[in-house]
Amino acid sequence: MEHPVILSALFGVPEEYKHVFYTWLAMAVLFAVGFLLRGRMKLVPTGLQNFMEVLIGGLEDFTVATVGEEKGRKIFPLLCGIFLFILAQNLLGLLPFCDAPTANVNTNAAMALFVFIYYNYVGLRSWGPKYIKHFMGPMPVLAPLMLPIEVVSHCARPLSLTLRLFGNIRGEEIVLLLFFSMAPLASTLPSYFLFLLAKCLQAFIFYMLTMIYLQGAMEHAH
């Protein structure tokens, strides 16, 4: 089922690359907000600056409270970027003429693979060769058995990150389209509230899981 009227088609973007177009659109929105706010920062925030300060400040406090002062501040820029980026992408799906880029499995796979590579890099950097202890399990005797199991379960992480986000957002898009074709406005408007919550929650879960993985890579093995 195709989107009836869509912004990417107006720009001449082919159907199969529209998620790339909307990813760039989400980035453009975030950059615009950033540049808009950077120019006129106020000591007493109002409006948009207030909203962004509450959001980012709240996330920072939450990250620091969970991961710890030093490590939390170090990984926070990445986590906040992921949260805002996914939130913007998810919310694009609720705008008329737009589509959520996270409803395409490729966008999510790219982000999940990045998280996978990054947390392993952080682990290697903080532990060096001792990082392998994270894969050995609690007992040295069981290490040969635990090593492949841990490797498989680490490989499952990007998969579950990708599929969860993709399934949720894609499902919501399909439901919205179906509702809209049956009874425009009357049926889509109430579901907007539910989906607004669900999309924020999905962005938050992605952020939270990234934080859990990074924390696991940085702290002592078992």
């Binding site: 409270a65 499952a156 998969l159």
Partner: protein, 87 residues
Amino acid sequence: MRLSGIFSGVDRHFLDDLSRAGVVGLHMVSGIIAGTAIGYGLDVWLDSFPWCSGIFMFLGIVSGFRNVYVDAKKLTANRQKDETERK
């Protein structure tokens, strides 16, 4: 005006639990899928069809259970922390 508005009303452990509980089911399945995919890839590479697939599928099932076990342990730890904080 920091945390107060959005997160502090909600318990920190509750948000942690929420995101963990939300993926417990998927963790079990994705372990099996990842294991099977690795095994099948090895089979295609080494031309040894049923062997690697079978072994890695078994490892995937075990790692799926292990993921759920780790999640459950963390949920229990959070609950115990909540209870001690309340006392």
